[in-house]
Amino acid sequence: MAPPLPLHLAVALDGAGWHPAAWRLPDARPTELLTAAYWTDLVTEAERGLLDFVTIEDGLGLQSSHHDRPDGRTDQVRGRLDAVLTAARVAPLTSHIGLVPTATTTHTEPFHVAKALATLDYVSLGRAGWRMQVSARPDEVGHFGRRQFPQLNITDFTDPSVLAFVTELFDEAADFAEVVRRLWDSWEDDAEIRDVATGRFVDVAKLHPIDFEGPRFSVRGPSITPRPPQGQPLVTALAHASIPYRLGARAADVVYITPADADIAGATVAEIREHQAAAGRAEQTVHVFADLVVFLGDTDAAAQAGRDRLEELAGAAYTSDAPIFTGTPQGLADRLLAWQEAGLTGYRLRPATLPGDLRAITRGLVPELQRRGAFRTAYPGGTLRGLLGLPRPANRYATV
């Protein structure tokens, strides 16, 4: 058998972990979730495991067990910090790992998001990314008071008005991403000339209006922030169905999917590749990572016992949009390598508990993958794009 291709590995950080009772474990730090030390410790641990990047979850409403509204619960972690600021706070204290905060496309300004992520790229010396996220929650609309959402049961995808609404939000997100990428390109890399002889600091021929005009917003540009170190920070998106697969294929460098098994993973990768070709991006590398929630233990029984304990604390069985893995790091390595054959190029693991399952990933899974020749043994140095084998994008406005 051919040696496995090297995997890419990301970890999704959120609160005390993805299990709603994770904050009650002895090593959880639930009173420190809003401190810099907590996030620094987590990201430093992920960097110790040589992971490609961490994502940081976010949202413009309170966390909820419901998809579309707050739940009024008091037994789970509620309250969180802005993810871009959290990533920036950690950036100077780390040196290799990618930092991929979540930012919403529905209520925010593309101009602000573009310059924030460009700045994250500067403060991290080329390690910034973005998880773009659409928000369909009516309560978040109320936080802004700027638009109206239709009254819909947005989980009912058979309803044509739901489909139309969701399509609209994702098309807006695609426009948003287009604006963001154009703004990153709106300065050519060598626009700053500092020409003492003519007194000119910049060459205005290398600064470009982006003149984006769309049905939802228009943005003139250029950005106020020079093109960031990576040219364009990494763009990523989570996708569960065809409309979001299409967004990912059109707009993202990494698409996270949530397949129940390897066959579905294969079919989804194929669908994304089709959308990618239709969008004229067939030649570009678009990574497809599977998301997995992981409950890890030294033995299968220990992992299961840990999960049982959490479910007992929560008083309910754990469910997720993503597949759930319960077992040992060795078993997880088997799973990751087996599913890779479906065409996946990496994984975004969601630790059920923090720091417990994160440590099991960095100190158990990673050495196991290294033994099998499937994971790096050192950071190569360079940018997040470089780590993922992505080129530095050519600037669309540059005339050579």
Binding site: A21, W23, L25, P30, T31, L34, T35, A36, L60, G61, Q63, G72, T74, D75, Q76, R78, G79, L81, D82, V84, L85, T86, A88, R89, V90, A91, P92, H107, E109, F111, H112, K115, A116, A118, T119, L120, Y122, V123, D139, E140, H143, F144, R146, R194, V196, G199, R200, F201, D203, V204, L207, F217, S218, R220, G221, P222, I224, T225, P226, L313
Partner: protein
Amino acid sequence: MTKPPRQIRLGAHFPGVNNTTVWSDPRAGSQIDFASFTHLARTAERAKFDFFFLAEGLRLREQRGRIHDLDVVGRPDTFTVLAALAAVTDRLGLTGTINSTFNEPYEVARQFASLDHLSAGRAGWNVVTSWDAFTGENFRRGGYLAAEDRYRRAEQFLRTSWQLFDSWHGDEVVADKDSGTFLADAGAGAFGHHDDQFDITGQFNVPRSPQGRPVILQAGDSDAGREFAAATADAIFSQHNTLEAGQAFVADVKGRLARYGRGHDELLVLPAATFALGDTDAEAQENALQIRRQQVSGQTALLFVEHVWNRDLSDHDPDGPLPEDDPVVGENTIARGRASVRQIRDPLAIARQWRELAEAKKLSLRELVIEVTGRQTFIGTAATVAAQLDDLVQQRAADGFILVPHVTPGGLDEFADKVVPLLQERGSFRADYETETLREHLGLPPRPTLEGELR
């Protein structure tokens, strides 16, 4: 026993996009690399400054329809840089400009509450109202706001933000592992704000931060701006840095406080100040002139005069006289996105004044601009400058200063090394930090929340 001297407050303005930042100097470094921000912030912290200050602009400035290319161009996002600076400093306040026109309160309040958590209570917000439709072309909202409405939005924006900051009281997160109670109150963060600017309801999702609310700075100088500061701000970033003008300004803005039930110590007046140092006073004068020449090239001088004349003067000679015709009166169309242009309220009067000055002193156009614009506030040896700064504070022409160095990022080094120790010897500046939060550093009283409790 003599009374201890009044304490000076000091902020460090990052020299970035600014018509005083000299980029042609051999010591000038990057205005965008994070290392530059780290350098200035660490220098300010080493010198025990109250805060670091970052300005903001949301569209590249233009003149005659062309991007202005003679000054430093390119700046980072305010929040992102401040959050990163929290990692490389411990006590320094981290303040930045955030516009109230092209943002929404829920988002800005989240960002400031996050910054305050991530910096353990060091966040400060310079609320500005820059409004023009030119800048609006970069935003969904566009340039919808008439100039007279912008302070109305700013004030409601700030009051709405306060409501969001105060929507958590600070005791809701109990995180009791045994009982399984994370939140003491399911309704934490609930808010509803309804006025002519904002009609929003919901639940704020950042629990109360160490300062509760960031320290508020205000930088407008119009009557509306001063009133806004008196009503809402903790500190006002002013342009009046001489004894008489400073005392008049202090009297004016502090005189407005009583109307809002506020005391004299609740609003600090912090003029922007520049400096030129030397080993002797004469050498400092020489350095000052040299800096002015670096700041105002012939091209820069011409463009500056265009702001007043409001027309293309590119065929004029900067080493020749001022234009003979009068300025074009009305809306300024020659320059866009420049704060200085907004300050020109009577161009004919300015032109008359300048002509008289040029004639009396036999100045060329460029020499005139060097003469009338942004001269260094403090010029002299470290001892001279320390005495000048201190006198202005002791004589109540200011509560402190926001220093604007002219070189990135090392422009504050000499001030930190030479002037600050002299202020410390005088007993008018702290020898070390004694408090944790920015609000405490500034000696500001705790602010009442909307519910009237002191927190």
